[in-house]
Amino acid sequence: MTHDVAVLGGGPAGMAAATEAASHGARTVLLEESPLPGGQVYRALPPGYAGPADADRRAGDALRAALAASGADLRTGCRVWGLGGGPLVPQGAAAAPFTLSALGHDGVPFTITTRALVLCTGTHERIIPFPGWTLPGVIGLAAATILLKVQGVLPGRRIVVAGAGPLLYAVAAKVLAGGGQVAAVVDAATHGEWLRALPALAARPDLLAQGAAWRTRLLAAGVPVIHGAHVTAADGDGVLGRVRVGDRAIDADALCIGHGLVPATEATRTYRARHEHRPQDGGWVPVLDGRQRTSVPLLYAAGDGAGVRGAAAAPAAGRVAARAALDDLGLAHAGSQDAALDRARRAGAAMARMMALRPAMVEAIPPETIVCRCEGVTRAAIDAAAADGAVTINQLKHFTRCGMGPCQGRMCGEAAGALLAAAHGVPIGAVGFATGRIPLRPVPMEAILGAFDYADIPVPAAAPI
């Protein structure tokens, strides 16, 4: 069966997109890797777990309930690794329906065929390398939200929380609420940056109030907050023991650090949609029209994967994308207006600016510091490759193996791109991005090969001599 609409990713954007499409009668399927939909912000607790109820939990439950009632075919616990169809057809052939290859929750591979595809793949975290960032005990800031909110685990006993953006204060407040100690908050943003963000945040008083509550809790606990500062090194004997901020040394057994979120554009890159480098949106993003359409017909992107705008904006963007798909398929004439979206986007944009890549931090990476931890590539190796003539990120990859390891450059790609651009004195956009390739996710070889036979390989006729 060919679906009308497939949605990849079951975060707030994807849940809302699938709900909207299915409730207009489109044959809709949602594919999500986690055992339950929710995405990063509304990730469900493991079965049999109960935690403190909060606004996030309620918002996530509401989206899940609407989705369950919508009639969309929900495929959770499945890893989508392969993308095909659409524009990925032999040259000259007409665009085909999209195909998604996945490994099911039971380990059985399956394929989905769909006329329209809405990508809601979210983000991953950016960590700008610094000396000691590979030490055990150093984890991502967004990663810490998963430990604290979903697993109910403190990353350490005495924790430094560092980086940029609202997650800093969310994590610090959750550590305190969970009974941990916050040794310090190290915020890359200055007081002035936060003041400038206020007017846009006021568009979402609920978010502003939440932020104020987090800060009050830190103040009451006497947690030092250092503004306009960066972690300069982490050290310890085999595991983290100390965090250095300039000449200040702070004893800690965990450091939660993140410098913003990077849109997950593997799928739009694989489909060769047009992209732009927009630092204020998180980096490389697909170029969209006002209704979430990418440059590829019947391919849409919504949520933070299409440019970081935060959890509040994601569902509205998902609905707009679904309505565009319904219109384009001739299934419904759904309006595209969403008043809440504009307000949420304004607040989200102010936060995203704060989480944008900070070139000065990249510039400060010392030569011997590892940038690509999968392959052990240092800054010095990247600079040397640039001097040897690597101009694009794909060339850097071939020269140094940077970004070629198991994470496929998701952790280091941005820092590596910024270093290469700085070495050549060009904007980051000029060094390009790594070509999108499948598999999107690591999967066992058998899943990819399937019931493959050499006789199936099409052999083109030899060219006349």
Binding site: I139, G140, R373, M411
Partner: protein, 90 residues
């Protein structure tokens, strides 16, 4: 040492074996979270410059949390704990 937050209720604890030692964990929590809760941050040794390896992203992206569970290679952050699992380095 247990770094679990008391305000969560969870299924009764079980025992898994990590590098030959018993570790108390709760069924359903991620293996990565269980190791962190036990203060076991070193996920893998080896001689690569970025070793010892350790979980970074908790969401399946960084691939730094690879371990073997009953001999099978898994991402610890995406693998739920079950009683009796035998965990060895990747």
């Amino acid at each position: 040492m247990d770094q679990r937050i008391a305000a969560f209720s969870r299924p009764a604890a079980v025992t898994i074996t990590v590098r030959g030692r018993p570790v108390v964990a709760h069924p359903g929590e991620s293996l990565a979270a269980a190791l962190v809760a036990a203060g076991l941050w070193r996920f893998g040794e080896g001689d690569d410059p970025a070793r010892p390896r350790t979980a970074v992203c908790m969401m399946g992206v960084c691939q730094q949390c690879l371990l073997r569970v009953d001999g099978r290679l898994v991402q610890a952050c995406l693998t739920p704990v079950a009683a009796g699992q035998v965990v060895t380095p990747a």
